[in-house]
Symmetry: C2
Amino acid sequence: MAGGLLTDLYELNMTASYLRRGMTGSATFSLFVRRLPADRGFLVAAGLEDCLQFLEDFSFTPQDLDYLRRTQGCGEDTLRAFAALRFTGEVWAVPEGRVVFAGEPLLEVTAPIAEAQLAETMLLNHVTFQTSVATKAARCVLAAGGAELVDFSFRRTQSPGAGLSVARASAIAGFAATSNIEAARRFGLTAAGTMAHSFIEAYGDEEEAFTAFAEDFPGKTTFLVDTYDTERGVRTAIEVARRLRLPGPVGVRLDSGDLARLARSARRLLNEAGLPGARIFASGGLDEYAIAGLVAREAPIDAYGVGTKMGVSADAPSLDSAYKLVGYAGRPVMKLSPGKITTPGAKQVYRAPGGDVLALREEPSRPGHEALLVPVMRAGQRLSGPEPLTEAQQRCRADLAWLPPAVRALRGPAPVPVQISEQLESLQDRLTQELTR
Amino acid sequence: MAGGLLTDLYELNMTASYLRRGMTGSATFSLFVRRLPADRGFLVAAGLEDCLQFLEDFSFTPQDLDYLRRTQGCGEDTLRAFAALRFTGEVWAVPEGRVVFAGEPLLEVTAPIAEAQLAETMLLNHVTFQTSVATKAARCVLAAGGAELVDFSFRRTQSPGAGLSVARASAIAGFAATSNIEAARRFGLTAAGTMAHSFIEAYGDEEEAFTAFAEDFPGKTTFLVDTYDTERGVRTAIEVARRLRLPGPVGVRLDSGDLARLARSARRLLNEAGLPGARIFASGGLDEYAIAGLVAREAPIDAYGVGTKMGVSADAPSLDSAYKLVGYAGRPVMKLSPGKITTPGAKQVYRAPGGDVLALREEPSRPGHEALLVPVMRAGQRLSGPEPLTEAQQRCRADLAWLPPAVRALRGPAPVPVQISEQLESLQDRLTQELTR
């Protein structure tokens, strides 16, 4: 699929109209999040890699055009124009893994309006979803205070493709591994996983199941201990580990019940058995709030499996994102719809000790300020190949460390106001006056 | 991709262990939703078609096996066994579009345990997500009371693939069209769409933009009227429609502000202009609650565009679904983990005037009761090809009409208790005693 139909019908309608009328002026669209969801103090940018791949591959296949001919009544002139369409424009973007705030562009596209318009749906889709999940995952990382996190979400993400993106986005945010093997292969991640309750039930006897698993995976044995009774399960795991003299570090996974209490009792049993290095792994409906609660109770947990609630960003499953025309044919534009006013012109975001400043891109750069948006595509070509995921991970780690604690807070974080540059403000005032005249 | 790696690592670990030990006994897994989310009185089953395709296509490619060899230390015996693996089992399922309740199996798989285990992740993924969205969409249909609904979610679904599934699931639930063209092509749906604010801004002048659009799409012109000022936009739309003597029915789309008030004023202006047949289309952050509010205020709206909140099932973005071993090698099994107790044995759900009954599949069928689970796959082969979507749509329409109003309620619906048959109850009691001895 070359992507031509991965869009909304109205994008095609508008594009057809632009092409027919020779409206080939250069348009700039700005992709940003209007307001942050409740309990979100920041966002972690993600999704850019998929956007660039989409733009580079964009075209209509003969099958696409045939479908449009048959069902949408597109004329032959329009279909010929569609057939020739490629993305030839320029993209500036905030690199993946960086922390951003409401109103700051994550991505800006400048291209002939037909091309920039058609890309709207997929660019919004990739950035909105992956940014929401990277942000949720980063909150889990902050809550875990150094304990390891593993993505367990694949079974309940919103489609298999979503599961692949979640594994990648959570890795950017600092997750150590994923249960999702296809994602591990595709993105070079570490795959992690042990056994399910069904394994124990298939054997009927917990000890027999543990013995079989430990024999088959002697170097990486984590026993799931809660199928029938957690403390009994821990004792059985200890017996099996001793009897088989397992070479690698053993571990136990707690998947239900009062995890803090069970972790303490498991730790005591493991210590008493001379296995102080054994890892305790907790899972079962966890999110950043539950992890913070366990950390606050000083539960002796070494690693957390975080699944569904992270993978669907349960308390904020979407963002109030927008892809708005801010300039056309050399002229800045804005809209005045209630609650959806846009700021005109191509932008730059400057980060400085005093806070972020949203400015026009054409303004002179600010000494001592870091520009968040960087050019990533020109004339439809990427300026560099896909970067190793470690780079996004490092940016995320650095930006999370930079965030003030009040902004990082899981509940009621302090809002970060973004200043508007004087030039941008006066342009906005002038256009508002013109449009309301 | 043949699907072998679309799973969690622990499924592969367990499977490797089963295969090595010659554990080829037949296992039955039951896929069900433990508890319904808040404000959900029922579920609309969806996702089965993707499950069947996954099972039919299931295999490991040479690349899959090579990845496992390199990164997971799988031995050659295990890899050979994986290479030979296909799904050869049986599937019973509730057909798509049917209404079900908590605890009722949506799908049951009986197969050699390795095959049934490996499929867990994808079967849960497809059914959990698509059922949550079909349910959300059905609630919008119930709220709209006969007005038409269009899926506008593609730009903010959780991945592009999710967007395709949302278009299909919402069509099952009764949506009339989708903005998503690729989904329209793939599933034979009606594509719908008009223009965006950017179109008007690109022209700078609303009248010029409306004129251009109406000339290019004279048979299906819906004017987006809220870019600057909605009432002014409606007046402009009327002028353009009159001047061009548009042949088709015109429409206006309201996308912001107080939709009920604006719809009334638009309807008045359109009536005064001699265009009583003009359609009023509303969109902008809608869900079943907002639609019900507009219907309660008797807003004269003919159709609703429903986007993000439906497409991510915003207030219930996942379900508490499970895929649990209920039988192995002729023996019923269950687990006792706190809050996650399972009922043993292959099941059937009987629907009768007195309410649903969850029974063992082996029990004699009940006269006058309808069996919800039907066989859909045997020996790894589908019993029939993909059915036309209209069949799922008809089932959904009939089941929604059958639901008592208290169960259909959007807020605080009456819970539907599912009875347990005597045979199932006594089996459950016996196993619990055995396991806790």
